[in-house]
Point group: D2
Chain length 244, copies 4
């Protein structure tokens, strides 16, 4: 079933075109690196979409063909069209899976689904991050060791302005002294949402096996559970028992 | 401390002016009945605000003087100005308490804080509702018996399109055969949110002792916990330990 | 993978031998009905075990060959040997799945895993139960309609003396006026625990399709997630970074 | 109300009598330091009890006079009498508050209330611990800065073998590279349970203001919410509506 899972990786694809450091790490874009990582981990049906495409590449047709959407954005959150945010959100609520990566925490989409500011403390100086497994038995943690070590990363520190996660899977330790809830799940409507922290554009986290493994596992976990997408609705109902 | 708690009861105040049945039950409006109920239960500092007032009665000054906001709306959710919804939401995220009643489940404010559609199944035929206590030890349940019985009410049935509540305090049984999660809490940012189900405009639930007691307890529970309101923010931080 | 899932259905097998009403409904025992129901729903590898067998049929060898254990007990909870309860509990903590049915709520095993009394209000008079789906998107709810209707059942009412479930999937409505959290999940150590309410011995719930479907789904959900069982342990660790 | 709160601090009181390093830090015992810290923070009614007293100082009369019990144990968990563990557990389930400190994570009492092994990774070499606030709005976090820094402490690392906490309030960063869920709450029956990590016997954490403040706040939070203690029980009930 996973093999048949249709994944769309969305990337704002800005830094790669404007910052030579990023371009060197991700010459074809973060989306291309993520796509390659997913394909290499048994998910062959991966498409990509980026901000500057018409409708940001997120047309109704593209979403019809998407079981799980992966989201990376950072500098240009505000340039994402509100109507398209609403369109994508409606899909998540109806059952499409969503994996939000790194600075996607501050995207309109994620904040709208959470209902909170999703703010963080941060520092982008390239320090060591060690991401600890808190729930080793969770499906997303399979094949992951006791921790992932990312040699150089941006720091995100608590408090992370999210609602209490349904599940807290990993916690990061940063060399500079902070901690962060780095792998969290929520259900929103019929859809499953997974947030995973690493992936600052100036460091090569998306070329690292353990990081990609968690993302691939997260995509599989977020797969729709229902046979058909189904938007929650207010519905008037007849009584099942005599009343009055 | 509760005595000093400053409460604002917001009501769209529409049905009472257009439906004689409602006018008879709540001649001065649902907000007036709620205010009287809170005052009688040891919360003297209650103000009211309604949709048709300038800025819906929710000016910055009014919110400055509000520790906990109670919200009742139904027919005219769409007439609540988006900018005012954002203003009130920002206050909740910064620490103001919020108690959402009955059809307020479908208000812009509540849906925005939840991140989900907050839809229900429903039927307004006036049947018996029995609301069972699930967590008798919770502060909001103090002074409440094993259940509240409301003789005639609108039915709301599951699935209720909310995120998993932080706490589930009461579950309703309806004569017509349904059940509903009727008393739920969440934290959003620094603010506490309590949803409580009863209160259809054509039945006198807000004249009933047990219902008012839960609302008064809910107001006390939702009181700000921090000395000052504080909006979550993204903040850049220096490292606390040597890095690199 | 589910096809290969090795299930053991445990039953105290007492009422069937002493109460002719029960014997007529479950002539070969509740365990036999459950086994038949699971086999018919795509889980061919089902064994049974009962209280009066040596070691209650729960030898180390039997548990070595068990991925998910289903538990039904009622009258003779106290006759289950404490050492065997500890043995089974250790397996759950190390990753074996556990599905607890009906009056199993008061078994030593379930109470020990929950840490609470797991008490209920009850009445065994044979009334209608309607079990509503609260989270339609959950894997255990797939193939289940908006509700299950069980024509005659024992009543269990709130408060149910459990810790807050990790997930609340179904809530029961009873004709006599009560409600109950009837389908709940928890993780305990590396193991997954699913509680499902229906199944009083004097009514034929375990011959009903929807009930058996939920149990079969629950067994699949509770399947071990890790490649090997692994008991949590206190472990001394070397520092990963220089200290002092 | 807090002023009237009756607190009992329980300590196994072993290390202080056998290890001169500990005796120097806590000359009158860890319980005396905790008592002094609570009294100095507005909780005058504090008694102490220790392992070697008759019934470990936890007679029925002592528990009758206890609203919240604080628990510190380490080396001699196994010497705590099972019947007294059951007695204390029954009180918690009926509404008495419980604050479990540091190595109390592995006490019979805490493990029995959690239902899990409550295991940790550990290292007692005296490294820096920085305990971060995750939920600043929680009552237990009031008066606490963004983090507490404990200069020298034992390390506890994830995975911590607990059930998912109802609330996760603080996460520790350790100099040696690990993280830990250091401040967690649960409800068990009618009682509230708070676990707080710091306090290894060879370091002076219980002389540190921030640590004592969290403990004092935790004691206040864990205070009984109901007017009378009430053990959960199975109760037969008459139908409220006609059945059959």
């Amino acid at each position: 079933m996973s093999d048949a899972l249709r994944v769309t990786v969305w990337n704002e694809y800005h830094h790669e075109k404007h910052n030579p450091i990023v371009a060197e790490i991700y010459p074809e874009g973060i989306h291309a690196a993520l796509k390659a990582g997913l394909v290499a981990r048994g998910l062959p049906q991966v498409r990509t979409a980026t901000l500057d495409e018409p409708e940001h590449g997120l047309t109704e047709a593209a979403l019809d063909a998407t079981d799980v959407l992966v989201w990376w954005g950072h500098r240009r959150h505000d340039d994402v069209n509100d109507a398209i945010v609403e369109r994508v959100k409606a899909r998540v609520l109806a059952g499409m899976g969503l994996v939000v990566l790194h600075s996607g925490h501050y995207s309109k989409l994620f904040r709208s689904l959470m209902g909170t500011p999703c703010t963080v403390n941060w520092r982008a100086e390239g320090e060591k991050e060690r991401i600890w497994v808190v729930q080793p038995e969770h499906p997303i943690m399979q094949g992951v060791d006791r921790y992932l070590e990312v040699p150089r990363e941006e720091m995100y520190g608590e408090p992370f302005g999210i609602p209490t996660p349904d599940e807290l899977l990993m916690i990061s330790w940063f060399q500079g002294g902070e901690v962060f809830r780095s792998a969290c799940t929520w259900t929103r409507g019929r859809g499953r949402v997974f947030y995973f922290r690493p992936g600052h554009e100036t460091f090569p986290a998306y070329h690292q096996d353990g990081v990609l493994r968690v993302i691939a596992n997260g995509v599989r976990w977020a797969a729709p559970t229902m046979a058909e997408q189904q938007a929650p609705a207010n519905v008037k109902r007849e009584a099942l028992e005599p009343i009055g």
